[in-house]
Every structure is written in structure tokens, then in C-alpha cells.
Amino acid sequence: MCTYLTQKIELDGAAKGATGWFTVSDGAVYVDHPFHACHEHTLNIDFTNPAEGPSARVAVELTEEAALALVDAIQKALASAPPGLASGGHARAAS
């Protein structure tokens, strides 16, 4: 099935795509058929910057288990650092 449900988020960071590094401004998260992964459905994440065109995209297709493990790993990594260390506000204030 296609869920058609797309969670869209604003992001602030950078990613390396087919044409090199670009600033990431947007993200889309959805469970649907993957383009490449050999599973019927995957949790798909697109890291994008629409202002730089459709090719400014890093695509990730993960199994449900892998996606949940990634969420857990992100939470743990952030929890092990002082609060605010990687915050966008902190980075700007420090620069």
C-alpha cells in the first residue's frame, strides 16, 4: 500500500549528495514503497534544499527496525552531550 502520508519538517544543517555538500533546509519522512531498497515498504527520509533544485537531495530508505534504532541512537547521542551543544542558536551565538 502507499500510505501517502508525508511528514514535512524544516531542517537546519548540511548533507552530502550526488553533487557534493549542500545546506539542508527541508526534510520529508514517509512510509512507502522504496525506490531502491529491496523491501515492500520502508521508512523513507529525504534531506533536501528545494532552493537548490531537486538534485539537492539525500535519500534514505530504512526498515522499520532500522529507523527506530536510528531514532534511539540520535536520542542517545544528543543525551550524551551537554544540552544545547549542537543547537542552531548555540552555533550562531558562538560564531
Binding site: Y4, T48, R57
Partner: protein, 247 residues
């Protein structure tokens, strides 16, 4: 017998004369033939969609699949175009109708065209096929598991698509519908509602729901592929087009 075909990328004029990349395949013989517009699925204008186009040519039709996401930029890979189109909620209905009309006109402008046009679409293209057949003069339409013909997309989906059931009185041609019993978009109940509506309106249609098949059972490159359903489905498609797109 000449069973040779030509296949390759062409340009067709879409909605508001937009230049669309498209994949065309046609027999090299000189028999009069019908044309088929193939509407690709939501993941975009991919190799599997092009294979479907060649399949129609091998069966004697001229077929073309316009890249509905062409506007996302020339030289952009189809999967990036699809992601960009998805982030915008899919393509607007009006644009889709114009693109199908342009693709159909291209087919009718080819040598040996008999003037008959079929449309077929998969996944989101199934709904778009129904929309096109209710908006344009088509000769035969095939909806392969198109969702949101009857039901609205889930709240918060961000999709531009809305139910097109109210357009049913304008359906211009016979409709073949092929569905999976295990699909949820569209689920069997949704298929039943569409069938009942077309019955009520006296619109010619033929629906088949395959057991042990879900969404995407025609997709040979995906785990959703169900050979029994797909083989029978293709047989029904060619029988249907044989009856309605003949000279």
C-alpha cells in the same frame, strides 16, 4: 509478420504547452493501431514504467508515458524529480489532464494511428486514469489499484489529490479496474462503492479483485509482485484494449 518495435525518448507538449520528456514505443509495421497513454506510478518515471510502454508496443499499440514530473527540471534524475513532486503534494489534477491530452494528441499524430486512445495508470496513476477518462474523450481506460477515486486522502497527508467520484457521470469510456484484495488504498470497500456508482450511472465497467495480492502487484521489480494476479491482469488488459482500441 513484422514484430519489430522502436522505443526511445521523445518530447510531447503537455498542459499549457509545457515541454514534457516522454518515453514512446511503437511497432515498425504499417498496420493501423490504437494508442495507449501510460501514467506512471507515484515513484515516478522509472525503468519499470518504460518496460510497460514497450510491452504495449510489442502487442501492436503505440504507447507513450509522459514524465509527469518533467517540470521538476531537465537533467534531474527521476527519483529526485519524484521526491520533489511528492513534497509538493503531487501534480495538480488540471495539469495531469492537460498532460494526458498532449500525450494522446502525440499518439494520434503518429503514422498509422487509428484515432483510438486508451489510458492506463498504476497506483496514483490509477486515480489519474479515472480523472483523465472523466475529463477527456478516451476510448478505453484501465485503473490499476488507484486510491482516492472514492475516499479522500488521510487528513494531514499533504496530498493535493481529492476524491473524483463526483466526476463519474462524465466517464467517457469503458473502464477496466484491477485491484488487490489485500490493498488498503484502495480497499475492497472503496472499489465496491465505485462499482456501485458506475452501475447506478449505467457506465460500462469491469472490475477484478485478486486474492493474495495487495497494492502494486504488477510491479515486477518490487516484492509486491504477484505473478498469478499480474499474468491474469495483463491478459485482461490486452483483451479489453483488443475490444475497444481496434481499427
Amino acid at each position: 509478420m513484422n514484430d519489430a518495435i522502436w522505443a526511445g525518448t521523445v518530447t510531447v507538449a503537455g498542459h499549457e504547452d509545457a515541454e514534457l520528456e516522454a518515453y514512446l514505443a511503437r511497432p515498425l509495421g504499417d498496420q493501423p493501431r490504437g494508442g495507449v497513454v501510460v501514467i506512471h506510478h507515484m515513484p515516478g518515471y522509472d525503468q519499470a514504467s518504460k518496460e510497460i510502454v514497450r510491452r504495449f508496443a510489442a502487442h501492436g499499440y503505440a504507447a507513450v508515458c509522459p514524465n509527469l514530473y518533467s517540470r521538476e527540471g531537465a537533467g534531474v534524475s527521476p527519483d529526485d524529480q519524484a521526491a520533489a513532486a511528492r513534497a509538493k503534494g503531487g501534480v495538480p489534477d488540471e495539469q495531469l489532464v492537460g498532460d494526458v491530452a498532449g500525450a494522446a494528441a502525440h499518439l494520434n499524430g503518429l503514422e498509422h494511428a487509428n484515432g483510438k486512445i486508451g489510458v492506463i495508470g498504476f497506483c496514483s496513476g490509477g486515480r489519474q486514469t479515472f480523472l483523465a477518462a472523466c475529463s477527456l474523450q478516451i476510448d478505453a481506460a484501465v485503473d490499476c489499484y488507484g486510491a482516492f477515486v472514492v475516499n479522500e486522502p488521510p487528513a494531514g497527508s499533504g496530498m493535493k489529490a481529492t476524491s473524483v467520484l463526483s466526476k463519474s457521470p462524465d466517464l467517457s469510456c469503458p473502464l477496466l479496474g484491477l485491484f488487490g484484495a489485500d490493498d488498503s488504498f484502495p480497499g475492497p470497500e472503496e472499489v465496491g462503492v465505485l462499482s456501485a456508482e458506475l452501475d447506478k450511472l449505467g457506465k460500462e465497467h469491469e472490475f477484478h479483485t485478486y486474492p493474495d495480492a495487495g497494492h502494486g502487484f504488477f510491479a515486477v521489480d518490487r516484492p509486491s509482485y504477484r505473478p498469478a494476479a499480474a499474468v491474469d491482469g495483463w491478459k485482461k488488459i490486452f483483451d479489453f484494449y483488443g475490444r475497444h482500441l481496434g481499427a
